[in-house]
């Protein structure tokens, strides 16, 4: 089953790569049929990923978040879930052009990592808290990835919707905002659940551990975006740039801290 799960991850990488290509074809040719098949293939990739994660959970008897491999696959799953949700919401496939490749690239990275099921160190053996903490994080990251995709496209569309095959700037701005307002409370929950866990495991709810600090800074960037929008009435380019910066911070929180810094969270390293 462990092998099976690894094969499924590899296949979902292949599937999502094809889906990404179809999204590109669909958007450049405006062919509805290609668009529909892109969506179907993306869903199949999502189902593969779901199966892979379920199998892995059964094999290891815990949530699939214990090392970089599992964590990356879950991240990719969260992105696909958020993306497919928004594809239905805004009835436009053009975000797929940017977001689906992000999910595929993450899977490619995952495939390059050692994928064996590993035993857990004692700090991670608190299943419920760990599972909720990380699975909420996966959704929040997924939302931030969608916001990144739409904000990046916004930056191309801002001067009079020049790119005809992309959604209009207004729609993109709206998608960014909607995904951020889902992501921000979720990510607040992640930080708080992390604090609850830290309080149980280490006896302190906050310790300026690198992962904690990076998460807080990431959250504050998106909070800055919300304040800028509602208090200072920012819209458009500066807001979109803030979201792009936010996603860079998200990626750093996700990968950078585990790979480059040492701290209580670095057990989730390679």
């Amino acid at each position: 089953m462990e092998k099976m799960s690894i094969y499924l991850v590899t296949s979902s990488f292949g599937t999502l790569a094809i889906a990404a290509l179809l999204y590109l074809l669909h958007i450049s040719s405006k062919n509805e049929d290609i668009g529909k098949s892109a969506t179907i293939i993306a869903w199949i990739g999502g189902v593969f990923l779901t199966l892979a994660l379920v199998l892995r959970t059964i094999v290891s008897g815990r949530g699939p978040f214990a090392n970089m491999y599992e964590y990356t696959v879950s991240f990719s799953w969260g992105i696909m879930l958020s993306y497919l949700f928004f594809e239905r919401q805004i009835k436009s496939r053009s975000l797929g052009l940017l977001v689906v490749p992000i999910a595929a690239v993450l899977l490619l990275y995952a495939v390059s990592l050692p994928g064996e099921v590993e035993p857990l160190v004692p700090a991670l053996q608190n299943n419920l808290l760990l599972t909720v903490h990380v699975s909420v994080a996966i959704f929040a990251y997924g939302m931030f990835a969608v916001a990144f995709g739409s904000s990046l496209m916004y930056l191309f569309q801002k001067d009079g919707n020049k790119v005809s095959w992309l959604p209009s700037a207004d729609v993109l701005d709206d998608v960014s905002y909607k995904s951020v307002i889902i992501g921000v409370p979720l990510f607040a929950l992640v930080i708080i659940l992390g604090a609850v866990w830290g309080n149980v495991a280490w006896g302190r709810y906050w310790g300026w551990d690198p992962k904690e600090t990076a998460s807080l800074v990431t959250w504050l960037i998106y909070l800055g975006y919300l304040h800028a929008r509602s208090v200072s009435g920012w819209k458009g380019t500066p807001a979109a740039v803030l979201i792009v910066i936010g996603f860079v911070a998200t990626l750093f929180t996700f990968f950078g801290v585990n790979l480059f810094l040492s701290g209580l969270h670095s057990y989730a390293g390679l």
């Binding site: 004692p122 053996q125 409370p185 604090a195 495991a201 280490w202 006896g203 906050w206 509602s230 009435g233």
Partner: protein
């Protein structure tokens, strides 16, 4: 009051000014931002610079030793850090002062904004000017159907108004009415009350800081509680109970990674055992608000030392708390002498591996030898018996009465954010006369208001 009339005016000005000025200072967003940045910066320094363990900070002698080690590491800069309190950021007075000022400022900020938040919710402006209607981006005018009786008496305004209000209510709007002459003014909002969500969010920050400060002021923590197996540790910090560690065990995966480790702890109060628990990384023992977390562990040596006259000068379990290269090491100064004993043991290997024992006079090593468990050797002027290998357990001891307050604040924070973000406000002003109903609407930036507004207008028209 002042005696000289000439000065009175000046005095009154001077009297009201400082308070006014202070109020303005503390209610300004700029002040808040600067304060937040200062706190963030100080906390950041606290995570960059090593912080003195609580148990050392309490005792001047151990603090001096710790500081000496830091001087070796940082050179002269260590003195500056020490003078500024940067080795103990979270407990230094200026950091606490900063936090208290920040709480103060957030409270003033909140009070200052209260009317601006409160009034639109509970006593909104109902009558607005013509200009406001003309300027509104979203507005409409519904002409009444002419059904007037022959004598030109207008159709009762009341009936039309009722229709408008019930339609708005059925669209989940809360309606406020002000009766004018021949004109009924109204204001209606949807999700108006949820504007108080931002109040909740910002208040939760105050509560959060209060919780954190409570932890610092009324709690304590010690990261480095070391208890050898079988020994009892006096909790201190004004608590009158002790902890005995009966046993420590660790299990490993085949690749040497720790799988599980636990300590059996017993709480002793007034000479009696009052609680007992096996603690693990995620399962601390809590007694009277003090928690004991399994944190680290290591080897300990049962050692007996006799002097030349066969008198036992030391018989205890010596925890090897320090790690030096491949060895765990521990030291004890032999009571009543100026001799210190340093024992070390290589990490890993089986329980029979030999330990190295070294004697020091002051800072000078005098003699050394290695012993296996059960062996007795004479080293220097002492007979040293290495009785057996044991373990010590390392605990983090913490009392933090602020924790429930912090969780309360976190809950309010998330609820407040969700309420604010998911329930944007729509507002409609209007007036009803016999001839027409005029309505103008605005909504939070995030709402696409026009379709909703048009639906309401359509519903009113149909009646």
């Amino acid at each position: 009051m002042s005696e000289s009339t000439g000065e009175v005016e000046v005095r009154t000005e001077a009297k009201s000014d400082p308070i006014d000025g202070l109020w303005r200072f503390f209610s300004s967003t700029k002040t808040a931002i600067v304060l937040i940045l200062l706190v963030a910066f100080a906390s950041f320094m606290g995570s960059l610079i090593p912080q003195v363990p609580a148990s050392y900070a309490m005792d001047p002698v151990s603090y001096a030793q710790w500081l000496a080690a830091m001087r070796e590491k940082f050179g002269a800069v260590a003195n500056i850090y020490d003078a500024l309190g940067l080795f103990n950021v979270y407990n230094v007075f200026w950091f606490k002062l900063l936090l208290i000022i920040l709480i103060f400022s957030t409270i003033i900020c909140t009070i200052n904004r209260l009317p601006a938040l409160w009034n639109p919710v509970f006593s909104p402006r109902i009558k607005v000017s013509d200009g406001m209607f003309r300027a509104a981006a979203i507005r409409t005018s519904i002409k009444a159907r002419q059904k007037s009786s022959g004598r030109g008496i207008p159709q009762p305004v009341k009936g039309i108004a009722e229709t408008v209000f019930s339609t708005l209510s059925s669209h989940r709007y809360k309606v406020f009415v002000e009766q004018g002459e021949g004109t009924t003014h109204f204001y209606a909002d949807r999700n108006g009350i949820f504007k108080l969500g931002t109040l909740m969010t910002h208040l939760s920050l105050v509560i959060l800081m209060v919780g954190a400060v409570m932890g610092g002021m009324f709690g304590f923590s010690d990261d480095g509680v070391v208890i050898p197996e079988g020994k009892t540790y006096n909790v201190g910090f004004g608590e009158n109970f002790s902890i005995r560690a009966d046993q420590f065990k660790a299990e490993f995966y085949p690749d040497g990674q720790p799988k599980d480790y636990w300590s059996d702890l017993v709480v002793i109060e007034g000479g009696k055992e009052v609680a007992k628990q096996r603690i693990r990384v995620n399962e601390p023992l809590e007694y009277k608000g003090v928690r004991f977390h399994q944190s680290f562990y290591g080897p300990a040596l049962a050692v007996e030392v006799k002097d030349g006259q066969e008198r036992t000068v030391f018989s205890d379990v010596l925890p090897l708390v320090q790690s030096s290269g491949q060895n765990a090491a521990g030291w004890v100064s032999l009571p009543g002498t100026d001799v210190a004993l340093v024992a070390s043991l290589p990490f890993g290997g089986d329980a029979t591996r030999p330990a190295t024992v070294q004697l020091f006079k002051g800072q000078v090593p005098t003699s050394r030898d290695t012993l296996r468990p059960g062996e007795t050797k004479s080293i220097g002027n002492y007979q040293i018996n290495y009785k057996g290998l044991k373990s010590f357990t390392g605990l983090r001891m913490v009392k933090d009465p602020g924790v429930p307050v912090v969780w309360l604040a976190c809950t309010l924070l998330v609820v407040g954010i969700c309420v604010t973000l998911y329930f944007p406000r729509r507002r409609i002003w209007g007036r009803v006369t016999a001839q027409e109903v005029v309505m103008a609407g605005t909504a939070d930036r995030t709402v696409n208001f026009r379709p909703e507004f048009d639906r309401i207008v359509e519903a009113i028209r149909r009646v």
